[in-house]
Amino acid sequence: MAVVAQRHIDATTCNADNVLRTPRVWHIQVEAVHNEDLHVTAAQLCFYNFLSIFSTTLHPDIMATATLPPASDAATSSSSIAAASSSSAEVFKRLHPASYLARFLTKGYRPDGRKLRGWRDVSVNVGSISTANGSALVRLGETTMVCGIKAEVAGPSSEQPRAGYIVPNIDLPALSSPRFKPGPPGDEAQMFSNWLNDLLVSSDTVPLEGLCICPGKAVWALYIDVVCINYDGNAFDAAVMAVMAALRNRYDRELTAIARLPGATYNDDSGQTICSRTETFPLQLGRTPLSCSFGIFQSSHLLPDPTSFETPLLPTTVTVALDERGVAALVREEGLGGVVGKTGEAVISEAWDLAEERVKELRAILEESTAQA
């Protein structure tokens, strides 16, 4: 019963971390749940919250006994104990996320079963959107990102008559996680969009001069849209991977379907650009940077590839992006840098080492996926 009830309560609370820490708000949420059974369990959870305020450590056994519903039927009591103990870990995770994570880390593991320095599995599927000029779907653990690239003919700016445009955008819709609200893009989505734009522009991934159709008259504008389908942390790495997979081409054979634009001709007399219906050509590409993100937990652990549960507990983030020659395209760190026994400088260098290995793996996965397409 406890497990079912908690799931319902999850659905009614938007920001469980906040709610669980403030008993006041929690009461409001309890009132919002009308089901009789849920009332009981929600009240119990309230009691744990109360417990958590007055006791510094919650012993799992105490939690288990507290979760036990008043046993009316002896036959069902054993099954309810099992349900109760599994939910007590869940309750502990909600009430004390930091100590929950710390306990895993002291044993050398992450809550999702990875080793401390482990990365999640990546899978890439390219060309999944047939109507786009280039597309890719990337799964990084549970995080799923879709990238679609559409090209439009546009007029160039007078300052740079030969330069086309790239318009990258990362969307984190409400459907991908309860952390995101519907409506205009949130701060996180805007920040990631800006990071992606800075990375693509400064690394010259798509040389803008290569998008010129007729200087001063017509250029290509590439709309690079990344949509998150399922959010489980590390949206930036997944988004960069999706963009690179969608842009990448195979030059060796004909009839590749990734990131190709129709042949276009500008007509001086009519002032119009005519695009070919049949002929498509691959985009000219520059460097292909891939990024690796890390978080620092309580100035003690450098954790690669954080999940959505870990992200709010990691005040410091480190991101390193390297291109195919191992040359850096972006290094970023926000928040207090050092960990126990190491300066911020040493931590960045350590992250760089880990990123070098990881980018090689990612690149192999990318090559494999584009070869299959």
């Binding site: 996180e188 040389p207 290569g210 159709i213 850096a328 926000e334």
Partner: protein
């Protein structure tokens, strides 16, 4: 070493710094920081500022004040950071700068001192926040408008510089320094350290000039750089988790720990390391200047 920079600075020389605190009468604390401005400017500074090619920002800090219910945190004060560019409205680049500022200030401000309240920081950039466009190819092909179709017959060489986008790095560094000054002036929130930001750029070899790293680049220098860096160092005691190892202690100044790194373009590890080392001594220099200016001001207030 002969200077190759347009303003005749040495590669590792900062522009003249300018620091003012308490300029805004209605804010709890305010500070203004400028790279490339003489401290004895008369009142109409805004006009002069653009002519001098300086990079400046002003920040105000209010708090602890009442917090909106949905942003209330039970265990610490909410830090709200707002950045306004000089021209236009803040777009995604302002959001990214705001998130950097809050990420680097949260561990440095003692926010748990004021739970269930709001600390509001507003940063106004006083120099252009859009990257000046720089394209060497427009000069290379003046009238090669024979191209009428895509794909072009010959492959376009990708530019050897890193095209700039977003807020110039020196402007980001000035914003951090202005925010630090505002927090110091307000004095209402205890600080564990003072963050100091500084920008660097790697300029490629050009006619008669040597390639190399330059400190505190102007926006024009940033635009033709192959890589750009911004580093933020926090000066304080007990910031680093390391007791002594690797930390450069020098008595009065305390220790320095990295709180902000941003870099883009193309660079190797040794280039990054060179920039990082140079940034540390530059940040120390700026920190010393800020300290001196604040000392003078507090002596004036005492009198």
């Amino acid at each position: 070493m002969s200077s190759s920079r347009h303003d005749r600075r040495a590669p590792t020389e900062l522009r003249p710094l300018s620091v003012t605190v308490g300029q805004l009468a209605r804010a709890d604390g305010s500070g203004r920081f400028a790279f490339g401005e003489l401290p004895t400017l008369p009142a109409p500074w805004l006009a002069k500022l653009i002519a001098l090619g300086s990079t400046a920002a002003v920040a105000s800090l209010n708090g602890p004040i009442e917090v909106r219910l949905r942003e209330e945190l039970p265990d610490r004060a909410t830090l709200e950071v707002i950045h306004r560019p000089l021209e236009g409205v803040g777009a995604t680049s302002s959001r990214a700068l705001e998130s950097s500022l809050s990420a680097l200030l949260i561990p440095l401000l003692n926010l748990s001192q004021h739970p269930r309240s709001l600390i509001q920081l507003v940063v106004q950039s006083l120099s252009s926040t859009t990257a000046p466009s720089f394209s060497d190819s427009t000069i290379d092909f003046p009238e090669s408008s024979s191209q009428k179709s895509w794909p072009p017959s010959e492959t376009v060489l990708s530019s050897h510089t890193a095209p700039a986008s977003g807020i110039p790095f020196s402007s980001r560094a000035a914003s951090i320094n202005a925010a630090a000054l505002a927090a110091l002036d307000a004095g209402s929130v205890a600080m564990r350290g003072v963050p100091i930001g500084v920008a660097l750029a790697y300029i490629p070899a050009e006619s008669g000039e040597e390639a190399g790293l330059v400190l505190d680049p102007t926006p024009e220098e940033e635009a033709r750089a192959t890589s750009r860096y911004g580093f933020g160092w926090a000066f304080g005691v007990g910031l680093s988790a390391t007791p002594h190892g690797g930390m450069d202690m020098d008595g009065e100044e305390g220790e320095a720990e990295l709180v902000w790194v941003e870099s883009e373009g193309q660079f190797t590890r040794s280039e990054f390391q060179e920039a990082l080392d140079l940034s540390r001594s530059a940040a120390r220099q700026i920190h010393g200047f800020v300290r001196e200016q604040l000392k003078q001001r507090f002596n004036e207030v005492k009198r």
